[in-house]
């Protein structure tokens, strides 16, 4: 699968936690992901929700998605139109949850990607290209378990399809 969209970077690069992705001010009372999507990333970029377009990508440094287990974080990103996150590394719970709900995460060096670059990601080969600058890098291979979940549309669709886990 090939994804293409605009890169969004933030002033904060490393340790973007799930509180920053979707604040507790909203996530405890709003149960509709489309409504939550209007507040996504608000605490580190108040304009993000109005800027982001369907297919866009979030680009960050180390340990993206650390902190709270709130699955609203990947769900609200997806509802906001984010097609993938590109970061140097991810926190564990966010990593599993993103693939569980069908949001691909790409792991590679990101220092070369500028805010506003148009990115093209080939999830099959792992090649991440900046259409804007022509630079590219090969991302870490998405583990087979996560590839299966992604292909099936997430964990629950996977379980319905196979009547349980078919990950091995």
């Amino acid at each position: 699968m090939i994804l293409e969209g605009k890169a969004h970077r933030f002033v904060l690069n490393d340790d973007i936690n799930t509180d920053y992705i979707i604040s507790g001010r909203y996530k405890f009372k709003i149960d509709d992901m489309n409504e939550l999507a209007t507040h996504v990333m608000e605490d580190i970029d108040p304009d993000f929700a109005s800027k982001v377009r369907r297919g866009d990508m979030i680009v960050a440094g180390r340990n993206f998605g650390c902190g709270s287990s709130r699955e609203q974080a990947p769900r609200a990103l997806k509802a906001a139109g984010v097609s993938a996150v590109v970061a140097k590394s991810y926190a564990r719970i966010f990593y599993r949850s993103s693939f569980n709900i069908g949001l691909p995460l790409v792991e590679c060096d990101t220092d070369w990607i500028k805010d506003g670059d148009t990115l093209r990601i080939d999830l099959g080969t792992g090649i991440v290209t900046s259409v804007t600058t022509g630079n590219n890098v090969r991302a870490a291979l998405i583990p087979r378990t996560m590839q299966i979940l992604l292909a099936d549309g997430g964990l629950i669709p996977h379980m319905k399809k196979h009547d349980g886990f078919a990950l091995e």
Binding site: D15, G24, R25, F28, K29, S69, E71, R92
Partner: protein, 420 residues
């Protein structure tokens, strides 16, 4: 080659000889969710045709993050949880029961050797009882509840050996902050941490729960402690007598071993806005605070309240400082009442809120004003965490440091007030 606790627990639950790096489908003993994570799980369970949990010991849903309910929107979420739990063999801990990570261990559902998952990142707290427990998203917990199983990558383990003895007024929270500073926010990502050593053995169960609780702040998956006499006495007092403890082997393979000396520790504080932004409490002298918070799944237990009362008894919180106390559970509150701890704190000027998460997650019960500083016994100090992102600084510390600071109106090393 021997095995770590994580390797043993995931082997016994998957019936294969699992080693770090393997992927296993393992049976899950118990699972839980709370009022911030349950509705997504409920929707998934409904779509799967769920009728009752298949996890060996069932599951619980806990209303603790917004408790009692602060708004009509949240009331709808709470009602959804109550209606869903009914008739589906799910234990519901309702308003006033306390924080999930206190009420679930108190309920006797966590025993040595267990594998537990929860839709709350601090589920790793149960590691204090010699279990492997981890936080996950709602879909993963739904899958575990519906099938009784889940996939796990067997984690590599880190060993943290803590020698020496804790100095007076220094304890588990200071060590937890020291560990977080040493490993940083992702130093243990996908790892299992095993604490060992004389200082760990000297800690009571409340202190071990504090340490295990904060393991996730370094990215860790599990934080299983060895089972000892203190573990078995604690479990026995909660109705559990038949134990099958799990120990790591002498020749188990650890990815890394750290050596800490408890006797060299001092009271620590994590400064805004990161948990690994740690310094000595004494270095922040002069930093004014307007609110102090004692509670949470990290430090709202009986020994935490007792330690705070030791500092505050017979003295008054500084005029202009709001000290908010949220006991971790109804049982903790009840015991603290019997011991006179509640009275001592009230007379010092403390405000008690219901057992639960209190103001930790920023939905009610103590949202700070713009530009204020808060010193808190919680585990996270992210910008906006307590419900206001306008120049609010959250400082994390031990119960004694929090209460010493409430007494002085500025961040204070507890040894400074305790010695007078």
């Amino acid at each position: 080659m021997g095995k770590t606790i994580a390797e043993k627990v995931l082997s016994s639950h998957s019936r294969i000889d699992a080693r770090a790096g393997d992927m296993v489908i393992a049976s899950v003993d118990y699972c839980m969710s709370q009022d911030g994570t349950s509705t997504m799980m409920i929707r998934e369970l409904e779509s799967l045709g769920f009728t009752a949990p298949k996890t060996a010991k069932g599951m619980a849903m806990v209303i603790d993050h917004n408790s009692p309910c602060p708004s009509v929107d949240v009331a709808k979420i709470h009602d959804r949880m109550r209606v869903f739990a009914r008739g589906r063999s799910i234990t519901l801990f309702d308003v006033g029961a306390g924080v999930c990570h206190q009420v679930i261990p108190e309920s006797g559902k966590v025993v040595p050797g267990d594998l537990i998952v929860g839709a709350d990142s601090h589920t790793c707290t149960y590691g204090a009882l010699n279990a492997c427990a981890t936080g996950l998203g709602s879909a993963d917990v739904a899958a575990a509840a519906h099938t009784g199983k889940l996939w796990f990558k067997v984690p590599y383990s880190l060993q943290i050996n803590v020698g020496g003895g804790f100095p007076e007024w220094v304890g588990a929270k200071d060590l937890a902050l020291h560990t977080t500073a040493t490993l940083t926010s992702d130093g243990a990502t996908y790892k299992s941490i095993e604490y060992t050593g004389a200082a760990i053995q000297s800690l009571d169960m409340d202190g071990r729960l504090t340490l295990a609780n904060m393991a996730v702040e370094t990215g860790a998956k599990f934080c299983p402690f060895a089972c000892d006499k203190k573990t078995s006495i604690w479990l026995s007092s909660h109705g559990i007598s038949s134990l099958k403890p799990v120990f790591s082997d002498e020749d188990a393979s650890f990815e890394k071993c750290l050596e800490f000396d408890a006797s060299a520790l001092v009271p620590k504080v994590a400064k805004p806005h990161a948990v690994d932004n740690v310094c000595d409490a004494s270095s922040l002298k002069g930093t004014q605070i307007q609110q102090a918070f004692l509670g949470t799944c990290t430090n709202g237990r009986l020994s935490d309240l007792v330690a705070a009362a030791t500092i505050l008894k017979g003295r008054q919180v500084k005029h202009g400082v709001r000290l908010i106390v949220a006991p971790a559970s109804r049982a903790v509150l009840s015991e603290a009442l019997d011991l006179g701890v509640v009275g001592a704190l009230l007379k010092s000027g403390a405000t008690f809120v219901a057992p639960g998460c209190g103001p930790c997650v920023g939905t009610h019960a103590g949202i700070p004003s713009d530009g204020e500083n808060v010193i808190s016994t919680a585990n996270r100090n992210f910008r906006g965490r307590m419900g206001n992102n306008k120049d609010v600084g959250i400082y994390l510390a031990s119960p004694t440091t929090v209460d010493a600071s409430a007494l002085k109106g500025e961040i204070t090393d507890p040894r400074e007030v305790a010695s007078k």
